[in-house]
Symmetry: C2
Subunit: 214 residues, 2 copies
DNA sequence: CCGCCCTTGTGTACAATGTCCACATTCGCA
DNA sequence: TGCGAATGTGGACATTGTACACAAGGGCGG
């Protein structure tokens, strides 16, 4: 066989055709195994079968590439949340439904953090400015970002009478704090390596606390 | 004047005398402004007035130095917690006292995160393994780590009858999750740049949630 | 259909960084 | 007093991000 063909087979056309996405794809794979710090520009270009500097035609610098990865990962978080919501049995009464859809938001978030820790960390890796959490590039299939999904779920709780209206403002930050904190504990805190089942239980406990204390 | 004397004045003795601590000190300063990724080995040795390789006589590699920084920062977290606890007016009745000492743990944690974001991030920067959070190098003035302080405060809540005994197990992770999550939101999440007063309020809200939901 | 130009990819180069190896200096103990 | 272990030095190397000038060629105006 030919020499190590890890790098993409040499392309014949001078133009790559879809370099930007190829770089994002490669960077995503790097982030998947190794987190944000594993996203190295030269490795991505290597994988795309292109010289390092070619990346600069599509990204201002490494941070820009990392930002694209972050947005993509955030979108995957949203999709995981949506999937979790879609999985709740649809035959329940409205108030139970609202509650289940709220919990699904947190459960999906935590599930993604455990299934893709590298990408999760990349999603929330902050290169100085993370005010883009609401960009549409961070949206899932329904076009909503994780934060929007959380907000809607909270609105659902209010509509169902499960949350007093005067408690609604700022509630996303209470919920987000608790769930994100647990995610960090599970990924690389003292709870790392917890058995998935136990981790799931811990997640449910935290969500219990949120429902009670919000 | 002589050329830029930013680097430590040349020492006359061949031995430095206290290089290990000098490196940690320098690295702490680097982390203070710029977080863990700003801790660069060569910069630290430069500051200590020593050749880069000298560091390897005291630290296996950059990660080892970073670990020392992390432990030192963790200890500062503990001290901030202790200071906050010491500040609660001591004339209150026992149950109010237990409650105040519990809240002080979270308040101190959040205060440190805001006052020293770089060091805070360094404290929880995980180089693959963070099971050292209970090492005595991470302890504060009373010789207790942040987690131990939290645990004691929770025990205090139980003793005071503010927390049912069957809710005690695992409670540290609920509390830690919520507070740490908020810290992250405040440092480099969507809540970054919040006015200190508002940030403090947000912290109290989160602690309210914990008390209610734990 | 042709030629030009703007976009995209290439080559070369440089400064920084972490880390390795061999060597120099010195402290402290036998 | 002398010798070995600890500590600091010098030089070297691979890897990384990034700048600058150049090449290739696709698409549009004429």
């Amino acid at each position: 066989m030919a020499a190590a063909e890890n790098p993409q087979p040499k392309r014949d056309t001078y133009r790559h055709g879809d370099l930007r996405n190829a770089l994002i794809e490669a960077a995503l794979e790097l982030a998947r195994q190794g987190g944000p710090e594993a996203v190295v520009l030269r490795a991505a270009t290597r994988q795309a079968g292109v010289v390092p500097n070619a990346a600069y035609r599509h990204f201002a610098d490494r941070d820009a590439l990392l930002h694209a990865v972050s947005q993509a990962a955030m979108a995957q978080v949203a999709r995981t949340m949506e999937a979790e919501q879609a999985a709740v049995s649809p035959t329940e009464d409205p108030v139970a439904g609202a509650r289940a859809r709220f919990r699904a938001v947190g459960t999906g978030y935590l599930r993604y953090a455990q299934e893709e820790p590298g990408l999760f960390r990349a999603a929330f890796h902050v290169p100085g400015d993370m005010s883009h959490a609401a960009d549409d590039t961070a949206a899932g299939a329904t076009g909503k970002t994780p934060f929007e999904l959380l907000g809607e779920a909270l609105d659902g709780l209010v509509d169902a009478g499960l949350l007093a209206e005067d408690r609604r403002p700022g509630a996303e930050f209470l919920a987000w704090s608790a769930v994100h904190g647990l995610a960090v504990l599970l990924i690389d805190g003292p709870l790392r390596g917890l058995h998935p089942t136990q981790a799931h239980d811990a997640g449910q406990h935290v969500i219990d606390m949120i429902e009670r204390g919000i």
